[in-house]
Structures are given as C-alpha cells and as structure tokens.
Symmetry: C2
Amino acid sequence: MKSSNQQSTRQEPAPAPAAAAEPTSGPLTREELQLAARNHSMPLEALRRELTPPGLHYVLTHFDIPDLDASSWHLRIGGAVERALELSMAALLRDPAITVPVTLECAGNGRSLLEPRPVSQPWIMEAVGTAHWTGVPLAYLLGKAGVLPDAVEVVFTGADAGIQGGVPQQYARSLPIREALRPDVVLAYKMNGADLPPQHGYPLRLVVPGWYGMASVKWLASIEVAKAPFPGFQQKVAYRYQESVDDAGTPVTRIRVRSLMVPPGVPDFFTRKRFLRAGPVMLEGRAWSGEGAVTAVEVGIDGTWLPAHLDKPVGGYAWRKWSLPWVADPGEHVLACRATDITGASQPLEQDWNYQGMGNNVVQRVSVTVE
Amino acid sequence: MKSSNQQSTRQEPAPAPAAAAEPTSGPLTREELQLAARNHSMPLEALRRELTPPGLHYVLTHFDIPDLDASSWHLRIGGAVERALELSMAALLRDPAITVPVTLECAGNGRSLLEPRPVSQPWIMEAVGTAHWTGVPLAYLLGKAGVLPDAVEVVFTGADAGIQGGVPQQYARSLPIREALRPDVVLAYKMNGADLPPQHGYPLRLVVPGWYGMASVKWLASIEVAKAPFPGFQQKVAYRYQESVDDAGTPVTRIRVRSLMVPPGVPDFFTRKRFLRAGPVMLEGRAWSGEGAVTAVEVGIDGTWLPAHLDKPVGGYAWRKWSLPWVADPGEHVLACRATDITGASQPLEQDWNYQGMGNNVVQRVSVTVE
C-alpha cells in the first residue's frame, strides 16, 4: 500500500454485534447517509445492458479503497498446503485464464425497505451489476499449492483495513473447500476486458459466482487454506440471517432469486416517480438467482400477474433478460415483477425481515402515471 | 435513444420553485435517500490520485441516463448561425482535438451540511473529480457554423428528459458567447483516454472548465446560438444563489475555491471516524478554484493553521496537490484544510447559507483518534 499512515491490523474473534445500532422505524441517520454517499448502487436504467460498466455496477467498500501498486503487489497462498506460494501479477498473467459472466449483488440489497430498518448501508434495491470477470481459476492455483487432506476452508484476506463492530481487521472471508474448488471461481484481474478499476479490487480480486458479493473479496492479499472454520468478524458476526442480536443465526451464502424492471417513461427529478405516455410500451428487466437458473418471471400490472418472455440464459450466474409488452392506458398504475428459479423459490410479496437486513428479495413495485 | 417509451418533452418557461420542499432541520427524507443512491460522490481516498477513474468521479444525473447509439447519433448546431450543421460522431472525430485536465464539482456539493438543509441531492462534500477530457474545441465548431453578430448566448440541450419543478424538459443550459468561445471549452468524447462512460455523457458532452458541473451538459443533442438569454428551468429557476424562494437570486457560475483532505488512518465502517497510530503522517489532499489558480492551502490542527506545501499546478482548472507532515500524538484531534485562490477568496469557516444549497465551500473538518 502506498499510503504510509495505514494501521497494521489483525483479525481477532469478534465480541461485538454486527450492527452499530438496533433496527429502527425512525428516520435515516447521518451515518447511513455517509455510507450511501460512499457506496453506490446501479441506476435501474442500466438493466437495459447485459454488462454493467464501472460506475454503474454497484460498489460496497467496508473501509477505504486501497491504493495498490500492481508492480510490487504479491499474492500469498499458504496454510494447509503442500507448497506455499508467493505470486506476482506477472506470474499470474502467465497462468491459464477464464472469463465468467457473473451477476453480483450485495447481501444487504433491499435493507432500507425493511420495517423496522436495520441500520447499516441503506440500500434500496439496486445494489447489483453484471460483468465479465477474467482471471485465473482459483482451483488451478489451489492445485499448484496442493491442498492438504484435512483442510476444510479457504480464507481470503483483502488489503482493505479498518474497524467494524469494535474489531480492528482486514476484510476477510472464507469459503468451504468444495465451493473454492468449483471451476467457475476466479481470481480476476479484468472486468469487462479492462484492468480492474480501483473500487472493484485492483489489481486482483476473488469472484464467487452465485454468492452474494461479500464472498468476492477485493484487493486480495492472501489465501490461507485452513483446517478449522474461520472465526473472522465478516464470517461469524456480519453476514448472517439473524432474528435478533442474540440469535447466532445462519450464514449468508448464495443470492436469493430476484428480478428488477427498468422503470418505464421518464422520472420526476426529486420524487423519481414515473410519467409515461399512453400506448404500447415494452416492459423489460433482468432476473437472477444464485441457486440456479431463473425459470419464470411474472409481471404484475395493478395486481394481475402475467408471464414475461424470457431471453435465452447467458449462462453461469449472469442475469437473464425478460420482457412483456404492455398497452398503457391513462391513469395511475403499479407495476411489479417476480422471478422464480429452478429450485422453485420465488420472490416474496411481503418482506422477510431479519436483524441485519440480509437477502431482502421482496418484489419491486413501480408507480407510473400514464397521461 | 434506443428506448421506445421516452416521452418527447419541450422546454418551457418555469413557473415552479427549484426545490421540491422548503429547507428543513428535520431528518433525511426517502426522496433524498433515493437521490443519494442514484448519484455518487468521490470517496475521499481518491484524492490521492491526480486523475479520477469512472466510478470514483462524482456523477449527478437529473433524470435517467440515456442509452444512446453513437453510430446513429448526430449533433445539431443551429440558431443564430450562418450555416446550421448536423454532425455525426465520425465527422467530429475528424476535427482537431484537444485534451484538457479539468476538476468538475457539483454546484450542490456541501448541501447536506447546511442548517437548515435545502432538500435535494444530499451531497456531503465529495461531489468532485478530475479527468482528462478529450474532444473538439467548441470554438472551432462555432467558427465552422459562423456566429451571427447579434448572438448573446449558446444553449446546450442533452438527450436526458424528465420533469423537474413540475416542468417537463430535456436538460438544457446556456453559456454567454464569451464563455462559449474560450479555447478550453470542449465537446468531449473521451474521458481519461477512453470512450465516455454512459453516466458521463456518452457519446458526447460539453465540458466547461472552471464552472460548476451543471454547465457541462451531458448526452449533448443540440447546440443553439441564441439572440436572447435562455429562459430554461435549469438556467432561470435551478442553479441560483437565492436567499429565499421569492428571491430571483443570481446565477451559479464558477466553482468557489475549495480544498479537501484524504482522511488519515483507517475508518470505522459505520461512523467513518478515523483511527491512526501515533507518529509521523503525511497529510495530503487537493485544492481547486474556478476563479483561477490556488495560491495557498492552510491545514488546521486543533485550531492552529499551518501553511501546506503546494505541488506545481497541473494547469487549467485541474486541482492542485497539497501536503503537510504531521506528528500525531495520542488523543482526539480535529484536522481541517482551507484554500485561497488568486483572487484572494478563501473558504469560509462557517456556512454561507443559501436557499438551494449551492456552492457551500465551507472548510472540511476531520476528527481523528490517535492511539
């Protein structure tokens, strides 16, 4: 890291709750606004695009964006391996590369719609994006290092450092061995064919297709194969489905099925309400699931659900385009969309509340005035 | 525009106030959060970089980001000219090009710090960014078209459409002829050497160095040379320094002098408070002014002001780097920075309130815990 004033920090077992305050029905706090100003979501009109460019793709950064120099940067691979490795970017670029299309979504997407509202990054519903990620398959590098038979997890540590829940830490997450060895898990150095932007993990990040974004560790500094489950803050405290602060909960893993719509017509600047001329309009959007293929999208028009046309799947865990022609007649309308995936899971019509505000895939509703 | 469901809109004289509600001391509204989720600021650690990449550079979009096809796009130049022109991107790319380094800042930067708070996009203080903009000098194209002697302004209209203050409109702004003919005003098709990203005005935008960002019209569709002052909403209603809703006010034009600091140390995730080890640390940041060169930056350490070192100016209206070594001793500290420009203008220590929350260049203060 170029900056001289970063603290060195160590990962320690977490004594503190994940949230800084209890869920509230009160107004947004200054701290939540600060987070909303730092982290950005994807404007919904970007759903028209199969791939999301930097600046439109959502970004969540727990701490500061590190300022890393690729020429001096090294990835360390160690722990329960036969051969510890230390790899430069030049070395990684000589390894075989794959490109995977992946829809990434923040696990906290939809949080600010919950009632009461868990107090953290106040996403509405657009914390998503899809990109082509290019790099070395993680399985290939783990093969090079040789995973010992009693290994159970792989721990990924980023260069981003700070304090959360009272715990000084570098951002770190683990994956079970079986997930780490999936052929589509990639150590990416390119996004949509260009070097990673700083905010997306330059020079190297993990991308775990199908999992919520917290698994895809950015600014990757080290990979440690572990013989015991990782006790880090982002694993054991944050990113859990909990009923209350006292509930140990269950870990957040794969992305719940969701669909979103390009809001039709034009917006009012301040209210973001939509205005549309009467007549035919093509409603369109994208749908995705980390549990497998999206098999159906229904569009709700004033409470009546109609099946949408689905384009061919792009493959992997990338979103799938849907569309439905609508003849808009004058008046006030409420549009909605609801996806189902191959497991039979559908988006809920009402909130499925949890303490940290994770995985809220409630259906999107768009109010439109037709003139 | 690819989308079939955009309303055609006309610019009309504006009957409505610029703000959707009166300034308030109350909590942030849902509408303000929606705007904060759509529009993003620059994380302050990006002040380490001379140039700001897409995704870190601030973005404000009044309506939706248009989805334009450069191959069918044309720029129309008309009004009080000798020869109306209609130019394709291919034609523009054959014209002589310049590259200008420019710091752009939103006129509403600092708004949410004001008390009472004008209700609109709730910027804190990071709505800024610096890029190299490459394209055709506007003066060159105006020369090609031939400006008639009685012209007074040039009106720029973007493809982005919606409703603001009750007025259906395409985003449009004007410049006085003398500003439009400045040699550094550019019709840009590249940002930092790459095609414009969608959110920065693809395929073509205006960049007016020294002026707040509202002048640099994105998704440029037409240029109209006018014989009378432009009465559009974004000119006559929005972007004015007003004392109250009834005050006609004065137009917002050039960027007021400002400096910002990279917050030292590491953050707490939720509060964004800073934590730093005792010892030497280099405080650094950037300073800029649309009125001319930055001539001094002072750094406040617990209320004592010290002169910072200034790097050589980059030139034009790009920000200038400053730095000051500090030996941090344990305890609570408040850091601040304050720039002065060649006109003698300095940043205010207390807010200079106005009704729309424009041009709030109050000094930044950063609280740091040194351990």
